[in-house]
Amino acid sequence: MLPIGHYLFLSAALFIIGVIGVITRRNVIVILMSIELILNAVNINLVAFSRLYGDVAGQVFALFIIADAAAEAAVGLGIIIAFFRNRETVLADEMDLLKW
């Protein structure tokens, strides 16, 4: 069994990649995908600690998060399609209607 540190390193790496993606990318779809990365980084954490402590609750959380991610992807993509129909763009920096 791999020590917990490995899992945490992987998880942290994935999380940072996801965060960088969210912050730097312009395409909303890519941002959405980056969020998925963040969520999965959390999942790895949860599952790793679940194994470590022999507690199943972490895995239940992970399953909830997967379901949540699916729902989030569905809603998010729906918003993006609706937005695209209106503005013909999926670039985040062009979504500035809320700006004063």
Binding site: V22, I23, I31, A92, K99
Partner: protein, 707 residues
């Protein structure tokens, strides 16, 4: 004893009957069939006549000096304190009350009697006219107003009737209101009368402040001592030497009242409306503009005779105006060609006679002439109406002639009336006219001459009318000629009755010189006693029999001369009227144009009033509209401009200033709102890192707690 009786206690019914039917006609008359209208309207006047006769008989049952009956229905104008010219306060009251004394007896009988006959006549005359119910409604309204006028027990109620008859006169002159001339004539009558009415009302006010009452007399009232009347106040004032014979204030009252009489009774200078009033239907001319309404002025002056007897200057004015009017109008009647216009000028002339009588102090003679004139002038007008009826509406006597046998009843009754007005013995006009001339002779010789000449003129123009209308060859158009027919019985019966009255009506005043006792004058004496016994020449003088008979012969001979001249002019044609006209063309022109009086009035008054109207119109357009309306508009606009500036720069400015301030202070915060969610995400991350770094050491505790 004070007269009593059923009719006297129901005196108020006399004017009420015509008022009731008038109201009925004017409100629902349209839905009443013609027969019903005739029955109701003529019937109500008939009932008034019966009540009047009954009341008069009950009054006659009393002794001569107690013949006065007065009843007050209610206090009409709320009584209140009034300050008199003397300074002390009196309780002023105007009641709705009726007074029947010998004077109003004569008037009420003439008004209801002649009025009834004219109503009957109208049923025939108006049968084919539109607005039948309207005509009778106005006629009955007139009867109500006229009866109120003659029965009123105070000046103000009399004034109500006075205005009422004026209104009805206006309505009936303008009866054919689609005709411009008719509606114009109505307006003229109304406006000219208004001038007189102003004088009358001023006279009433002056009486009220001078004598403290406007009730004619307190005689006949149950509490005669406690209440006051003009007669009593005047007597008290004279006894207390507060007012003397010829006092200026009494002259003032008398003259103001006479101005009212001039308007209503068509005296110079206010006579101009009467000839135009002939635009109305002929029965109206007979009833209102000959027999009754126009005599209201005479009645009013006689009613106020106590004041006049104390104002000799006013009496002289009345006499002169009357005499001048008499001859002036008679001269205009000489050349008129419209049958009704001749009669109209004749009426003015005869009214002038009446005022001449009043002015020389012969009040009874004036009323006597009023009565006989009502008979024969009503008959003349009704006869003229019958002629017009027969001639299919033709009024020009130049297109008549030869009617004597074609419409016999009309022609013969007209002849009788003509004899009566010309003053031929023993017709009614002879007695009354002679009485006036006799009294004028005693007072002012010059005025007697004027009256004397007028008598000749009267005989001439009346016989001219008679000859041109009824004798000689017919000058009518062919189709008019074919339609000539005698009028229906509804018209001829009143004519016959009036003809009878025109013959015998004067006999009640059969003068002493001819073996009579002049009952009429005796009958009126109690009313005409005045307040002091020695009013000089005004008092009734009994002149010598021989002189009186001489005067009668003189006036008969001038009447005869007038008739002879008319006969020569228009019957035998031995003197051609055209030659006379050619000889004095200027005189003829003057007469035909009625002395240009209408033109002078137009130039002097009517057009000046119109100019004033135009001037006021310009003033209105420029000053009122220009300065007032437009000025106010400009001011409002200027105000709103100022207000707008204030709103924009001060009110809005304050608000904007606040907003700007907020904007200024919000600037740093705004910098955070990039609108780029990447930057928001970065900020969240940074925040997270800061939080984690800050609370990092707690993490250990947290994790341990979870374990």
């Amino acid at each position: 004893m004070t007269p009593t009786g059923t009719f006297l206690s129901f005196l108020w019914l006399i004017p009420l009957f015509p008022l009731a039917t008038a109201a009925l006609m004017l409100f629902v008359g349209r839905r009443i069939p013609k027969a019903g209208v005739s029955l109701l309207c003529v019937g109500s006047v008939g009932l008034s006549f019966i009540c009047a006769v009954g009341a008069v008989f009950e009054l006659l049952a009393a002794d001569l000096e107690h013949r006065v009956s007065q009843q007050i229905l209610f206090e009409w104008l709320t009584p209140g304190p009034m300050q008199m010219t003397g300074g002390h306060l009196v309780r002023f009251v105007a009641d709705w009350g009726f007074l029947l004394d010998p004077l109003s007896c004569v008037m009420v009988l003439v008004v209801t009697g002649v009025g009834f006959l004219i109503h009957v006549y109208s049923v025939g005359y108006m049968a084919h006219e539109g607005g039948y119910y309207r005509f009778f409604g106005y006629m009955n309204l007139f009867m109500f107003a006229m009866l109120t006028l003659v029965l009123a027990n105070n000046m103000l109620l009399m004034f109500v009737g006075w205005e009422g008859v004026g209104l009805c006169s206006y309505l009936l002159i303008g009866f054919y209101f689609l005709k411009k001339s008719a509606s114009d004539a109505g307006k003229k009558a109304f406006i000219v009368n208004r001038i007189g009415d102003a004088g009358f009302i001023l006279g009433i006010l002056l009486t009220a402040v001078t004598l403290g009452t406007i009730r004619f007399t307190s005689n006949g009232l149950p509490d005669a001592e406690g209440t006051s009347g003009i007669l009593q106040s005047l007597k008290a004032a004279v006894d207390a030497h507060a007012l003397a014979f010829g006092a200026p204030v009494l002259t003032g009252i008398a003259l103001l009242l006479f101005v009212g009489a001039m308007g209503k009774s068509a005296q110079i200078p206010l006579y101009v409306w009467l000839p135009d009033a002939m635009e109305g239907p002929t029965p109206v001319s007979a009833l209102i503009h000959a027999a009754t309404m126009v005599t209201a002025g005479v009645y009013m002056v006689v009613r106020m005779n106590a004041v006049y007897q104390l104002a000799p200057a006013a009496m002289d004015v009345v006499a002169v105006v009357g005499a001048v009017t008499a001859i002036f109008a008679a001269s205009m009647a000489l050349v008129q060609n419209d049958i009704k216009k001749v009669l109209a000028y004749s009426t003015i002339s005869q009214l002038g006679y009446m005022f001449l009588a009043l002015g020389v102090g012969a009040f009874a003679a004036g009323i006597f002439h009023l009565m006989t004139h009502a008979f024969f002038k009503a008959l003349l007008f009704l006869g003229a109406g019958s002629v017009i009826h027969a001639m299919s509406g033709e009024q020009d006597i130049r297109k008549m002639g030869g009617l004597w046998d074609k419409i016999p009843v009309t022609a013969r009754t007209f002849g009788i009336a003509t004899l009566a007005i010309a003053g031929i013995f023993p017709f009614a006009g002879f007695f009354s006219k002679d009485e006036i001339l006799g009294r004028a002779f005693d007072r002012f010789f010059f005025l007697w001459i004027v009256g004397f000449v007028t008598a000749g003129l009267t005989a001439f123009y009346m016989f001219r009318l008679l000859f041109l209308t009824f004798f000689g060859y017919s000058r009518a158009d062919e189709h008019v000629e074919k339609h000539i027919h005698e009028s229906p019985r509804a018209m001829t019966v009143p004519l016959t009755i009036l003809a009878g009255l025109s013959v015998i009506g004067g006999w009640i005043g059969w003068p002493g010189a001819l073996g009579g006792e002049n009952r009429f004058e005796r009958f009126l004496e109690p009313v005409l006693a005045g307040v002091i016994s020695e009013t000089g020449a005004v008092r009734i003088a009994h002149h010598a029999v021989a002189k009186e008979i001489f005067l009668m012969v003189l006036s008969l001979s001038i009447a005869g001369a007038g008739i002879w001249l008319a006969y020569e002019f228009y019957r035998t044609k031995r003197i051609a009227p055209e030659l006379v006209v050619k000889k004095w063309p200027k005189v003829y022109e003057l007469l035909v144009h009625k002395y240009y009086v209408d033109e002078i009035y137009d130039a002097l008054i009517v057009n000046r009033v119109k100019d004033l109207g135009t001037l006021l119109g310009v003033l209105d357009a420029n000053v009122i509209d220009g300065l007032g309306v437009n000025g106010a508009g400009w001011l409002a606009r200027f105000g709103s401009r100022v207000s707008m500036w204030w709103d924009k720069w001060v009110i809005d400015g304050l608000l904007n200033f606040g907003a700007k301030l907020t904007q200024l202070f919000s600037y740093p915060v705004r910098l955070l709102q990039t609108g780029l969610f990447s930057s928001y995400a970065l900020l969240i991350l940074v925040g997270l890192v800061v939080l984690l770094a800050y609370y990092g050491h707690h993490m250990q505790t947290l994790v341990r707690a979870v374990r």
